[in-house]
Amino acid sequence: MGVVLDGLVLGLQLALLSVGIVFVYGLGGVLNLAHGQVAVLGGLATALMLQARQHPVLSGVVGVLAAGLAALLLDRSLLQAAYRRRGEERLLLALILTLGASFALDGLFTLRFPNVALSLRLTNPSVEVLGVTVRTASLAVGALSLATFGLLLAFLKGTRLGKAVRCIIQNEAGALLCGVDVEQARTVTLFASGALAGVAALGQGFFSYLGPDMGPEFTILSLIVAVVGGVRSLAGTFLASLLLGVVNAALSYWVGTYLTWIALLAVAVATLLVRPEGLLAYWP
């Protein structure tokens, strides 16, 4: 029971991390391999603020904003070169450029902040809910993720800009013809993708800790989720995250880290082979 709950919370956190990579792919046709590094940047910013004895909430907000701005900066600088191309060329260029960016950021983090880590301790380590002892951190992360997702859904379904974003994901040319401002939607989406990754990094800080070298791990995890859930579907991403979160928690508990990684990657490869559009691609 505890394992399932942990898995679900982990899944929510994965969803926050992955939704950015999915949206950026859906919107711009580029796969951002520096996504995990953006999340780490947010976490490190929060950790540095906390070190400077700032208020925790303020630190968290600054971290999330920093991650959002980092993603936006990536978009405004490197990815512009990719947007000028179409199709396969764009994908490849963006892939290599963000791969380069991810290495540059990884190097920068481990070089400049080798000992900075984000670890958020709550006052009560665990509480009892309905007769089950639950870690407070799990509850906090769960609540944080659900609240963030609520905001995201409200934005997508309730605002004009959100509608525009969904429009472009469905059909970029069609959206352009209808007068949707693709540029503006892209800016907002990139910022949101980074900010959501930043929230996920805070969640990691609550759970255990977040170090400067965790970027690749985050990127790979979000990539796996994106592949399994289908790179154009929000519901798919959400369900795949929960599924993989539970699988991850259960396997880590029973068979250990290495086999868990192999299993997660194998699920991704199998999905690509059997249903390249993602397991849940045709869900709304």
Binding site: L31, L78, A81, E88, L91, L92, L93, L95, I96, L97, L99, G100, A101, S102, F103, A104, L105, D106, G107, L108, T110, L111, P114, I220, L223, I224, V227, G256, Y258, L259, W261, I262, L265, A266, A268, V269, L272, L273, P276
Partner: protein, 341 residues
């Protein structure tokens, strides 16, 4: 000069220059090691050039294929007491088989460059975790001391250097032969446009799989030799960051789709790597920045650049790999039909 000799000239020249390197270095073990590792990188880059440059297959598993060669040969000798040279051969065949299989699956499923990249990256990570996890066999992160388990390259730096040089020159020779044969024209056509190539009767699947198999075999062979000359292997010496990224950078530096590009790129990369190595983690940062800058502003690489500058002074004979020597896709496309006649 007969045409066949002229064709072989760049390969012979490179071999001659590289054979003289140990004499110039005067036997300093450290510098010999750098030079040998440069040859290892150049050989990987030759394979990756065929994979990515000529057949559009973004194999992000060069390190993983090399680790199959390395771990395969070492474990065969250690646990099954296979004769070392035979073990190296078997490991190379294993690596070739895996590479060919990955290519076959990708082509059959119609994966674009992105999906091939993701699948091969996932395979790399799976193998990495497998090597870490099978602690009883591989010692996990601790790694295996390979001294006495190979063909004896660790003991003699000269032997290591010249063995790797022989492999590199042989692979350059094979590349040169391939691209001056009719197969070169076919490969050229498919790297331009696979659908048109298929329509003009070229068996795209067969060419891609054959190229992937041969390249992976080369990577496996070099990976096995590396395990021997390094004296020690662990999963971390074969990671994407340690092998694939340097190979990609070296190929971009030197010039994709050229004969000598991989070699020139490996030389340049080794020089840069030596400059930043003292600063530890700076190497990762430098790799990232190099990759971005190269891909944005220097996509053609050094060899085509030098060729362009020298083209009116030297005869076309010196253009690496005849058909494949063009600087850009557009130029190659323009010259293709004429050269094919």
């Amino acid at each position: 000069m007969s045409p066949s000799v002229r064709k072989a000239l760049p390969v012979l020249a490179a071999a001659a220059v590289l054979s003289a390197v140990p004499a110039v270095l005067g036997g300093s073990p450290y510098q010999m090691r750098i030079a040998t590792l440069m040859l290892v990188l150049a050989s990987y880059a030759v394979a990756f050039n065929v994979l990515f440059g000529h057949t559009n297959q973004l194999f992000l598993c060069v390190g993983a294929l090399a680790s199959l060669g390395g771990y395969g040969s070492v474990l065969l000798v250690r646990d099954l007491h296979v004769f070392p040279l035979a073990a190296v051969g078997v490991a190379a065949v294993l690596s070739a088989g895996v590479g060919g299989f990955l290519s076959y699956v990708s082509v059959r499923r119609g994966f674009g460059v992105l999906f091939v990249g993701i699948v091969t990256l996932a395979v790399s990570l799976m193998l990495h975790n497998l090597l870490l996890g099978l602690r009883e066999v591989t010692n996990g992160e601790t790694g295996i001391v390979t001294r006495g388990l190979g063909v004896g390259l660790a003991e003699d730096p000269y032997r290591a250097y010249y063995t790797l040089l022989a492999v590199l020159v042989a692979s350059l020779w094979a590349y040169r032969w391939l691209f001056s044969s009719p197969h070169g024209v076919a490969l050229h056509a498919l790297s331009e446009d696979e659908v048109s190539a298929e329509l003009s009767g070229i068996d795209v699947t067969r060419y891609k799989v054959a190229c992937a198999t041969a390249s992976s075999g080369l990577v496996g062979l070099v990976g096995a030799l590396y395990a021997d000359l390094n004296g020690f292997i662990s999963p971390s010496v074969y990671t994407v960051g340690h092998v694939d990224i340097p190979v990609l950078i070296a190929l971009l530096l030197g010039g994709m789709r050229t004969l000598l590009g991989p070699l020139v790129g490996a030389v340049l990369f080794s020089a840069v790597d030596e400059l930043v190595r003292p600063f530890g983690q700076l190497t990762v940062l430098a790799y990232g920045v190099l990759l971005v800058v190269l891909f944005l502003v220097f996509r053609q690489g050094a060899v085509p650049l030098v060729q362009g500058a020298l083209s009116h002074r030297l005869r076309p004979a010196f253009r690496p790999a005849g058909l494949a020597g063009g600087a850009s896709r557009a130029e190659v496309g323009g010259g293709g039909p004429e050269a094919g006649r």
